[in-house]
Symmetry: C2
Subunit: 563 residues, 2 copies
């Protein structure tokens, strides 16, 4: 088919952005082409707040028909954690038809080369960016994130992570030149001379297994890394968070077709309730790459069983903040209170265990006992969430009944320093909104250990009393090594303790935030600069985003002949 | 300890070479700092031919004491395929002592940074290079390679592959800067500002499992890739090829100590006969990286069972050359004859199956029937090996009794077009020297398929009659997909057939050499330019050398704080 969008046009349009992204991953200074402010949208083809809301409303109750081959029925969609029925439905795929159809366009996609693939990916991201307001509602009503977070994390930040993956994929593919002339001297004889061609070739079909809480943010890196390296990509969304990824697939298919490629290079695999197609898909021979975000149990299953594929997993971990001393007690408390509250603690990066010496800590406001620190933190959380409107804007909704059940059970694990309370969302009365619980635990008690050494995903944190900073470091090390950690935080004014926590994090490969007291939180990472996870501890076998995340999604085939 | 070799001195000495290597892997033009000619040695501290031989002779009958912790006995060494007793012995390790000792120096090695690690590795390679003549004998008398090949492939070419791995490792680690200042605008408010530090951290101990045929060439990439990325490295040589790697470990330990690092960062694990320590080692929790060259069976075992480690394998494959047409019949025959003869076909890259249309091929000397092509090839091999001295120089010795047994059995698999004959090596009467056998097989016969679809490692090739070029392409595809291939060759003057074979190789990820008729052979690859294997078919899950080979040997840990 004749391309509506020529390669030339796409390169002209997006190469400058690609170059900026390449520079950003090299310097790791701040950069983003995707505006974070809702009011930045509405011009140059992007939907503003009202238009985005209208576009979302128009989706409700509709069938999202992606025009995929092998569609053998329709799957009902998800229910919003805010209590509204989305009423959307999605194609169900006959894999024996869909997967071969996805492979049909791979040769042309491979032959297009790294640069064209990159700019096609950037066009997809640009069109998603234009619909950020619409996506924000889709993310909000599947993940339970509050609107502003769904807008930012599900919109620009997710798009940043996708673009970052495209940049890494591009640079990895062009490390080897397309051709080389190789001439080896042979003394007095004629030199040996070969002409060599190097072609990045894809592995096959990449499978993206989406999660409930961050369908776009966690889904885009794998999707774009695989697509940009020449693979087809099948997206298997979490059954409770289909819409944002269905829209993503729709945009990708539209752009691919306009650029003259087979739209079936990107497809959706929605599943019927209880169908559990992830295991079936993950072991299909056509699937050669898997990107997964979710439970440790299924991540481990994939790593063990999907042997035909490269498997990139982000699983669960137990995140720790060491609270040893601070010269900004107030800043520390407010920073921690925000971290614990944001999206009801339903981030893989939210701190769970706060390790506090039982004799207390030194601060700029004098020594504070363990009990005082915990009480002051509880008060800080209470203050932050005292106003219901603000609380709703920060907490969002509890994403599913499992989280609610864990929250309710947590109060029985120890002395409750801050009880969770129910908050009403006047706009969405069906939303389950809860403030975080903080539970005191004695680090030396075995029954307490059973609690704090397990991930308790949701708005639950444990104030763990430890014997000393040294004791805390040992517990930190053991926690990362045995349970994994996406993040580690530490508050200390002691150079020795700082060295100690830094060394533990280097040895156990965990990302460390030190003494955050302002507007950056341990649970937030910025694309192009911060690594999300390390890939070196049990919480994840990959980091977003680095060379290792992209380098094995393709192989380089050499064709050589005499010159 | 005070370093005799300062970082400053090592950087001054080796940074120019590192920079040239970095440029070479980018352009993939010809480059090597390691001379291929035996007479190039003897100055600037390197051993010349006589001194190298004397140094090797002095090793015979000695105990190679590496001064390793946990040495609990001595392991007798190998017997040369040339029939001489080496009489060397090596330390046997108590792993519960050695492995912890190897970890002790890792922090300092990590903190030294990527550049210092690179130049320490280059110093190790330089000292090995100076002893190339000595290593040549060690490789010859373990692998059975003829002297000239042992000298080149075991010396400069192996050193090139090691240096290439160091270059890839270095560039991968410095893609992320050591530090970054991140400043995010906040409209009218103060910007958010963080100072970020990025530290490449090692995974742990890398295990190199050596092979019998190319102990240094196949061992150095993994050894240097792991060491240069901050890991300690334990070398487990093949029981028949210990000496070259024991000497390598000795040099590495000497350089590490002189540079002020713990020599135990590199150690040897020699095994007692039948001890089979590879499985034990491969699943030790301290072992986080494995580089393996050898059988498919054990490679698959490692990939399945050594789940705590990153596993890089080069296994077996079935290499194919498609013979469809040529405009240089004589050049093709002599090129193929050399490829089949070199080191008695005991290279993982040696062609095994020659696919030839049963109606024959077109050549610059007119049409040639299948029988003619096979007979002419047999004659070319015969001519090449007609002189015993030349034959000995090309064939080397049969490396072990298994290869000899396979060679003898091969004659029973079909009609013998060229019989293997025994050659006497006057210098080493104990050497088992055999010329290659060529067996005719009908590609359409099921019993023939059982033969040509299995790897028959050694001086055995099959002239497989196929129905057509299309039939050959399908068989090529199936062979690569099911059995893997390190190399593919093709002779064709037809653009359609060339396109077809190219497409099969791109889709199945196999490295292709087209129409080689001169002094470059399908079984040879040059570091810095050619990829050895693709990592994309069953013969190997990694390629030498690319970003994927090094990117996951370390992780990057970020430490961030408010600016």
């Amino acid at each position: 088919m004749a391309a509506e969008l020529t390669a030339h046009e796409l390169i002209a349009r997006h190469r400058p952005t690609l170059d900026q992204a390449l520079e950003a991953i090299r310097t790791r200074a701040y950069w983003s082409p995707h505006p974070e402010h809702p009011k930045a949208y509405g011009e140059n083809g992007s939907l503003d707040l009202a238009a985005g809301k209208a576009a979302f409303d128009a989706l409700l109750g509709t069938r999202i028909d992606l025009g995929q081959p092998g569609t053998d029925g329709w799957v009902d969609g998800e229910t919003s954690p805010y209590g509204i029925e989305l009423g959307t439905s999605y194609p169900h795929a006959d894999l024996d038809v869909l997967l071969p159809a996805m492979k049909a366009g791979m040769r042309a996609w491979r032959d297009a080369g790294a640069e064209v693939r990159a700019v096609v990916c950037l066009e997809i991201l640009k069109r998603i960016s234009n619909r950020t307001h619409e996506f924000a509602h889709a993310v909000m009503h599947t993940s339970g994130q509050a609107f502003m977070m769904a807008f930012q994390a599900g919109g620009p930040h997710a798009q940043d992570r996708g673009l970052e993956a495209v940049a890494y994929a591009y640079v990895e593919q062009v490390r080897t030149p397309d051709t080389a002339e190789w001439t080896k001297p042979q003394g007095k004889r004629d030199p040996l001379a070969l002409t060599k061609q190097f072609v990045p070739v894809p592995r096959g079909i990449g499978l993206v297994i989406g999660c409930n809480t961050f369908p776009t943010w966690n889904g885009y890196p794998g999707l774009f890394a695989s697509l940009a390296t020449g693979n087809a990509v099948l997206v298997k969304p979490h059954p409770r968070a289909v819409l944002p990824l269905a829209l993503t697939v729709q945009v990708a298919r539209e752009v691919l077709a306009e650029a003259g490629f087979d739209p079936n290079l990107v497809a959706l695999a929605a599943e019927r309730p209880g169908e559990g197609i992830a295991k079936t898909l993950a072991t299909r021979p056509e699937i050669r790459i898997i990107d997964y975000t979710g439970s440790t149990e299924f991540g481990d299953w994939l790593e063990t069983n999907a042997r035909q594929a490269q498997v990139y997993t982000e699983k669960a971990g137990v995140n720790t903040v060491l609270v040893e001393s601070t010269d900004n007690y107030k800043g520390m408390l407010s920073n921690l209170a925000f971290s614990l509250s944001l999206y009801s603690g339903q981030m893989c990066t939210t701190p769970q265990n706060l390790l506090i010496p039982r004799e207390g800590i030194s601060t700029d406001q004098g020594p504070k006992s363990y009990d005082e620190v915990v009480a002051d933190l509880a008060q800080a959380v209470d203050g932050l969430l005292g106003d219901d409107a603000r609380a709703n804007a920060l907490l969002g909704a509890i994403v599913n009944p499992d989280v609610k059940a864990r929250l309710e059970a947590a109060a029985g694990l120890g002395e409750v320093a801050l009880a969770s309370r129910e908050i009403t969302n006047p706009e969405f009365p069906g939303a389950v909104v809860r403030t975080p619980v903080i539970v005191k635990l004695d680090g030396s008690k075995p029954d307490a250990e059973a609690a704090y050494m397990s991930e308790c995903f949701g708005p639950v944190s444990f104030a763990v009393a430890v014997d000393s900073a040294g004791d805390a470091l040992e517990l930190l090390r053991r926690t990362i090594r045995e349970k994994g950690a996406m993040t580690v935080g530490a508050y200390t004014t002691s150079p020795e303790v700082e060295d100690g926590v830094r060394e533990v994090c280097l040895e156990e490969a965990a990302q460390l935030s030190l003494n955050l007291t302002g507007g950056v939180y341990v649970n937030q990472t910025a694309a192009f600069s911060d690594f999300h996870g390390s890939g070196g501890n049990p919480a994840a076998n990959a980091a977003l985003c680095d060379g290792a995340f992209v380098a094995n999604r393709f192989r380089v085939v050499e064709v050589r002949r005499e010159a």
